[in-house]
């Protein structure tokens, strides 16, 4: 289907966005009411200083890294050639210049377990650190750990997005988020569906909605007891089939408990006309990515959730985003990553890397442009943006290209290119540090051996 370019820039949002009027006192009270049901989590304070958000943007297939003697080495190498604070942004990263002091470029890190795996199979563990080198097993992703702690303070505990939707294939997941039992969380990809979920206004009155919540609870109780009986009738291996169903039903029951108090809080009124909600990933690379980033930004601005993941496309050539480079006249992403030997192969690949960096820059600029309605400083100051990929060059699951941005109020030390000795430090150490700064007091994550405190101020 043909479509004209209806991309709308969100320049005048401030004027049209109606945020719920919610004095911080009310929120604290509301917050503690929810937290009260989960006593182990009431240590998280909910004042202005503790609004901490996380958001991960993932891309596949590694980055262009022309070798030393290659003419493209100087300009088109993803990683800057210098380390420390005096590094020069390569062409690939130059759109990040305005945010130099708001971000850190990391090199040399990787998950130890993936170092012996095919690069393309590493997306599934990027945020989890599970060891899949022998069996396909997974564990909880960083965003879900955060959501389990701060999720009660927002309408949605977390938001999982991708350009493809669903969960994909084990090893080529189309989601970055995994539950505590290691199950993939289906991602949403349709902008209108995401918008409706986040900001859609119910046609029912508050009273009707409250009644519906009560009825939901009874319905869930009823089906949970059916599931329990059914499970008892099943042979051992089949019982597993119902576990996830029961977990999900209980999860919704918890959400309903939260949703009930959120009913008193008006949903932010966001005008859908500010978004090109009909763009499909097949139609437009940048148009599509930006509408997703706009929705993420809006979810942050309205404090609808504090934990978001977005997979730009799944690893390998197995996702719709493989065609995004076509919109700027390049070959498919997976092909680019295998075509370094072609004429201009490194440059072409790097041009797509640059395109992706431009999208990150766009997102950072959005977050930086707005004061945080919930905290001190800008949205960016209270949002940890984690951007990267689970391979360096294609098939090579070491030396992940990574950028950690924002979160100034969380004590990150920015403005540097930090190079760690390749394949010595588990990236989970970085995740421990990130989680701690996000206010989650863990001292271990997956296979971590410590906390990568070098990133701290």
């Amino acid at each position: 289907m043909q479509r004209t370019n209806r991309r709308i820039f969100l320049n005048s949002l401030g004027a049209t966005l109606i945020l719920p009027t919610l004095p911080s006192a009310t929120r604290r009270m509301a917050g503690s009411r929810v937290l009260g049901s989960e006593p182990s989590r009431d240590s998280v304070e909910n004042d202005k200083n503790s609004v901490r958000r996380f958001c991960c943007i993932y891309f596949p297939n590694g980055v262009s890294l022309p070798p030393k003697d290659h003419p493209a080495h100087e300009d088109w190498h993803w990683f800057p050639h210098e380390t420390g604070s005096d590094y020069r942004l390569t062409k690939v990263l130059e759109s990040l210049a305005p945010f130099r002091s708001e971000l850190t470029i990391l090199s040399g890190l990787s998950h130890p377990a993936t170092r012996s795996m095919v690069g393309h199979a590493t997306g599934d563990t990027f945020l989890t650190g599970a060891d899949q080198s022998k069996n396909y097993v997974n564990s909880v992703s960083l965003d879900q750990v955060l959501a389990s702690v701060v999720g009660g303070q927002t309408r949605f505990p977390s938001l999982t997005l991708s350009s493809d939707g669903g969960v994909g294939t084990p090893g080529r997941a189309k989601t970055m988020s995994f539950t505590f039992s290691g199950k993939p969380i289906p991602s949403l990809s349709n902008p209108r569906q995401i918008f409706n979920r986040m900001f859609g206004v119910s046609e029912r009155s508050l009273e009707e909605q409250r009644q519906a919540f009560g009825q939901d609870r009874s319905i869930l109780d009823s089906v949970l007891s059916e599931a329990r009986t059914l499970k008892n009738h099943l042979a051992g291996s089949d019982q597993k089939r119902l576990d996830e169903y029961m977990t999900s039903v209980r999860e919704i029951e918890r959400r309903l408990a939260r949703a009930d108090h959120w009913l008193d809080v008006q949903k932010p009124l966001v005008d859908e006309n500010h978004f090109d909600l009909d763009v499909t990933p097949a139609e437009g690379g940048e148009d599509y990515i930006r509408v997703i980033l706009d929705l993420m930004y809006m979810a942050m601005l309205t404090d609808s959730t504090r934990s978001i993941t977005y997979q730009i496309t799944s690893e390998d050539a197995k996702g719709i985003g493989d065609r995004f480079p076509n919109t700027i006249g390049l070959k498919g992403h997976h092909n680019l990553s295998h075509g370094a030997g072609n004429k201009n192969g490194y440059e072409d690949w790097a041009k797509y890397d640059q395109f992706l960096t431009n999208q990150l820059a766009y997102f950072l600029q959005r977050l930086q442009a707005d004061e945080d309605p919930e905290g001190d400083g800008t949205l960016l100051d209270n949002t940890m943006v984690y951007y990267g990929c689970g391979t360096s060059r294609t098939h090579q699951a070491v030396n992940y290209p990574l950028i950690l941005a924002g979160a100034r109020n969380m004590g990150l030390k920015h403005g540097q290119h930090r190079r760690f000795e390749e394949s010595t430090i588990p990236i989970s150490n970085l995740y421990v540090a990130m989680l701690q700064q996000l206010g989650v007091p863990v001292d271990q994550f997956a296979d971590s051996t410590g906390s990568l405190d070098e990133i701290l101020a």
Binding site: M1, V118, V167, G171, I219, G332
Partner: protein, 896 residues
């Protein structure tokens, strides 16, 4: 803080096995118990006899230092208790049997040594297979896939609406199937959407009173329809209004009496993507499209559009293709959101127009976003009628102008508007006349009737009508609810309902009734709970479970569901349930009859479509974008068409009872005008896909030469021999290459040796000695044989290259040596080779994939005996696909 720490660390280390179905250790132990000493002596035997042989001949390449093809043998479990290891042991055995390993240039074992290992492995694998078979439970409980859910809701509510659009896509197994029971989880997100969908469905399709609303009727003569869209603020709309029955009948009578009268004809469109600026903008006249607003409609119901139309065939015999869409134009008319109702070849002559009928559920039609501006043409529901036949000489855009009508108020009020209107009409007329002179086909519209029936489909009564004479007394209401609820539950659960579970739902109803005091609401909510129950969402759930006993077969109701979800992808019909109730379905003759009956029903097309799509991995088709720079005449319509071809072809082979070897090579193809033209085949008229004999010695035939597969395995600009090779190995031969090893080097960057090499030559570099060779010499030749097909699947004697706007051409070389050394040239030789040397392997591959699909899980060693039987029956039938499917349906693997 401390407690939190514990939660977090405990949870992050938790992990579960997702992709592997671990073989039950208990079952193995049970098996071993029949000969208690066997395991011990077996281990001893392994360590004394086998291990040294493996060490001597295998572990140099498959050991701790090197793992060729990612295979390591010295760490494999000799007791064959791990699934993953079983598969590798099976590969080892295959290699030994075929004499492929150790490779020819390595030290070879003596015949006696080889036999020793083969015998040991064969018997071990047989034991493992038996253990696996015995350990399997007879229940096949799994969540419905998204499609199955959609079809099931359609069956349950007897309405052809879309129910599953908010559900996230299903997981895809390693082998490409979307019904793998181990992967089909229900996340909280899905659960939320199930709840939401159930509420909407129940509120729409469960009625508490008979429908009183009359259908909305429109009769529109196209010459009466006028509106100007030149300027939003001068918009003058005369959208048609609904008529009462009498007036409608009268208009129809007048129309029939007066004979046909036409306004502007609709001309074809040029191939390729249409200019984006103004594409589908109502504000700009387009010669191929007419649109008309529908001002009044029911949001829930069915719309029938009847178009009286005729054709002027083109001089080349081409005929117009009428496409009907329904949707919204919004904003200033520059946005467009439409749902296709259908397409038809129009052949009726101008003096005898014919009525073509299209249907859509109003729930599925895009709706006005802005109810306040319903009077604006732009935010009104529209019907778009287009001629979408393609012709290179067609003119798409006539530039700025208007379709204004001389009688419109705008024209009537302003002389200059009228003058402009007349000028524009003349311009449009003269361009159409020119196209007619050029011999293009034209589509003529005489009149359009629209009928919108509320709620149900026209002529149908709602399936779920609650007798509302329940009265006010709770006991009376409960009695009504009980009757209704039981009927609903039994349909939804696809089996009789046990008293216990029925009582549970009745209690839920009473609980709702006592808190809300609303009969209607209470019953609706109870029905919602039925639709999110595991008994609804999971296939083959039972209540009176005997499934713990793995020896007992499935219940007749489970069988009924198993059959209907395989063949129809929806719930069993009345007859199946009846046969389940009497227990007759467990009789193999009855079952066979039922399977045949179901295959003769058009609902079984769903099976053919779904299996073919997943077998061929057509889900990957959208991941490749065809370059408009290289292929300006390629467009989305052509892409969609090519995607339909393999399914239509597979369906034809299946339905005609043709041998499945036709899938490798055939002397016919499923074509229409556009596809025949795309392939450079003789011209045919009309765009319905149909069976066409191919010319003698045509390069087409079989699936390998079908555009969708060639495009999907290209990079959108050029062919991609590696992808094509992998695809042939995986899907046609079921001999997937191992995954690439970790940390492979790139092909040498800008190696001077590479410059000026063709793609084939560069790929041959791949196969020079080095780490890539072992695998790529088994992959690439298959793809290189298809080098004569470009990215869109057209035949090419040469490769076109564009560099900085300059076009150059290079000849194509599809000569190659297959992995076994056979020299072949192009696709004809490739097909001949597959047909003659690999026929059995290709046919067994189809059987393997179809069994995988039918079981909803990976085929494993425990299915070996069944698979062998299925293969024999398939071969004996002359490779009849229907016979294959019936053999699968009657196999132990499927039935127990």
């Amino acid at each position: 803080m401390a407690s939190l720490l514990i939660i977090a660390t405990a949870l992050v280390t938790a992990g579960i096995v997702v992709a592997t179905l671990p073989l039950s250790h208990k079952a193995l132990a049970g098996d071993a118990a029949t000969s208690p000493d066997q395991t011990d002596t077996g281990d001893q035997y392994f360590h004394q006899t086998m291990a040294p042989l493996l060490k001597r001949f295998c572990t140099d390449c498959h050991g701790s230092d090197t793992q060729e093809a990612s295979i390591r043998i010295d760490t494999l479990d000799p007791s064959l208790s791990r699934n993953h290891d079983i598969a590798i042991w099976q590969d080892v055995l295959n290699m030994l049997n075929a004499g492929k390993m150790p490779p020819a240039d390595a030290e070879q074992p003596s015949d006696a040594e080889r036999v020793l290992v083969i015998d040991w492995l064969t018997s071990r694998l047989q034991q493992a297979a038996e253990a696996k078979r015995l350990s399997r439970s007879s229940s096949r409980i799994r969540r419905m896939t998204v499609d199955e859910y959609n079809f099931t809701m359609q069956s349950l509510f007897n309405v052809n609406a879309q129910f599953a659009e908010t559900l996230p896509p299903d997981p895809i197994s390693h082998e490409g199937f979307q019904n793998d029971s181990a992967l089909l989880d229900i996340s909280a997100l899905q659960m939320e959407y199930y709840l939401e969908i159930a509420r909407t469905a129940v509120s729409r399709y469960v009625r508490f009173s008979p429908i009183k609303d009359e259908p909305l009727l429109y009769h529109i003569e196209l010459e009466d329809l006028f509106y100007t869209v030149k300027d939003r603020y001068e918009t003058c709309t005369r959208a048609p209004l609904p008529l009462d029955q009498q007036e409608f009948a009268e208009r129809r009578r007048q129309n029939n009496e007066a004979g046909p009268s036409y306004t502007f004809a609709l001309s074809p469109i040029p191939p390729g993507d249409l200019p984006v600026e103004g594409a589908l903008r109502p504000s700009q006249p387009k010669l191929h499209q007419q649109f008309l607003p529908v001002k009044v409609f029911y949001p829930v119901g069915e719309m029938i559009v009847r178009i009286k139309a005729a054709a002027t065939p083109g001089r080349d015999g081409s005929i117009p293709r009428m496409r009907v869409e329904c949707g919204m134009a919004y904003g200033d008319g520059d946005g467009f959101d439409a749902h296709k109702l259908g397409e038809v070849d129009v052949t009726a002559p101008k003096d005898q127009p014919v009525v073509y009928e299209f249907r859509i559920r109003m729930e599925d039609a895009p709706k006005p976003r802005n109810p306040e501006s319903v009077d604006s043409l732009f935010d009104m529901l529209q019907i778009f009628i287009s001629n979408v036949s393609r012709n290179s000489r067609a003119i798409y855009d006539v530039g700025p102008g208007t379709y204004d009508h001389p009688n419109s108020p705008a024209s009537q009020n302003k002389p200059e508007t009228l003058a402009a209107t007349m000028r524009d009409r003349e311009k449009v007329q003269s361009i159409l006349a020119k196209m007619e002179d050029d011999g293009l086909n034209l589509l003529h519209l005489d009149s359009v009737e629209i009928e919108i029936t509320p709620y149900a489909s026209a002529g149908a009564t709602p399936t779920w009508l609650v007798n509302n004479s329940a009265g006010d007394r709770p006991e009376q209401q409960t009695a009504v609810a009980r009757n209704f609820l039981r009927r609903f539950m039994e349909q939804a659960y696809r089996r009789p309902v046990a008293d216990e579970e029925f009582t549970q739902k009745v209690t839920l109803f009473e609980q709702f009734l006592s808190t809300t005091n609303s009969f209607e609401n209470s019953l609706r909510e109870t029905l919602v709970s039925v639709l999110v129950s595991p008994h609804f969402l999971f296939l083959e759930s039972t209540f009176s479970g005997n499934t713990k006993n793995s020896k007992a077969g499935p219940t007749p109701y489970q069988l009924a569901s198993r059959l209907s979800y395989l063949l129809w992808r929806t719930m069993p019909d009345e007859q199946l349930l009846k046969l389940a109730a009497t227990g007759q379905l467990t009789d193999i003759g009855v079952l066979n009859n039922e399977a045949s009956r179901m295959l003769d029903d058009s609902r079984s097309d769903r099976f053919l479509e779904s299996f073919c799509h997943q077998w061929l991995r057509l889900d990957r088709f959208p991941h490749v974008a065809v370059s408009p720079e290289y292929f300006p005449k390629y467009d989305d319509d052509l892409g969609e068409l090519t995607l339909k071809e393999p399914v239509a072809f597979f369906t034809e082979v299946f339905r005609a009872g043709a041998p499945a070897t036709d899938l490798i090579d055939s002397n016919y193809a499923m074509l229409n005008a556009r596809l025949a033209q795309h392939y450079g085949l003789p011209v045919i008229a009309g765009d319905d896909l149909r069976k066409v004999e191919l010319p003698e010695d045509s390069i087409r035939g079989g699936v390998l030469t079908q555009a969708a597969l060639l495009t999907m395995n290209s990079d959108g600009v050029d062919s991609h021999p590696i992808r094509r090779g992998v695809w042939i190995l995986e899907r046609m031969l079921n001999d997937p290459p191992p995954p690439p090893p970790p940390n492979v080097p790139d092909i040498d960057e800008e190696d001077p040796d590479f410059r000026g090499l063709s793609l084939k030559e560069r790929i041959e570099k791949h196969r020079e000695p080095g780490s890539c060779r072992n695998c790529h010499e088994k992959i690439d030749p298959w793809g290189i044989a298809l080098e004569n097909f470009g990215a869109t699947g057209r035949y090419r004697p040469q490769v076109k290259l564009l560099e900085e706007g300059r076009e150059s051409r290079r000849s194509v070389d599809s000569n190659v040596h297959l992995p076994d050394g056979l020299p072949i040239s192009g696709v004809r030789d490739l097909r001949k080779h597959l047909l003659q040397q690999k026929r059995e392997q290709c046919m067994q591959a189809i059987a393997y994939f179809m069994l995988t699909y039918a079981l909803g899980r990976p085929v494993d060693i425990g299915d070996r005996r069944d698979l062998e039987k299925i293969n024999v029956r398939f071969a004996d039938s002359g490779y009849d696909l229907r016979e294959l499917l019936l053999a699968i349906v009657e196999s132990d693997a499927f039935l127990h």
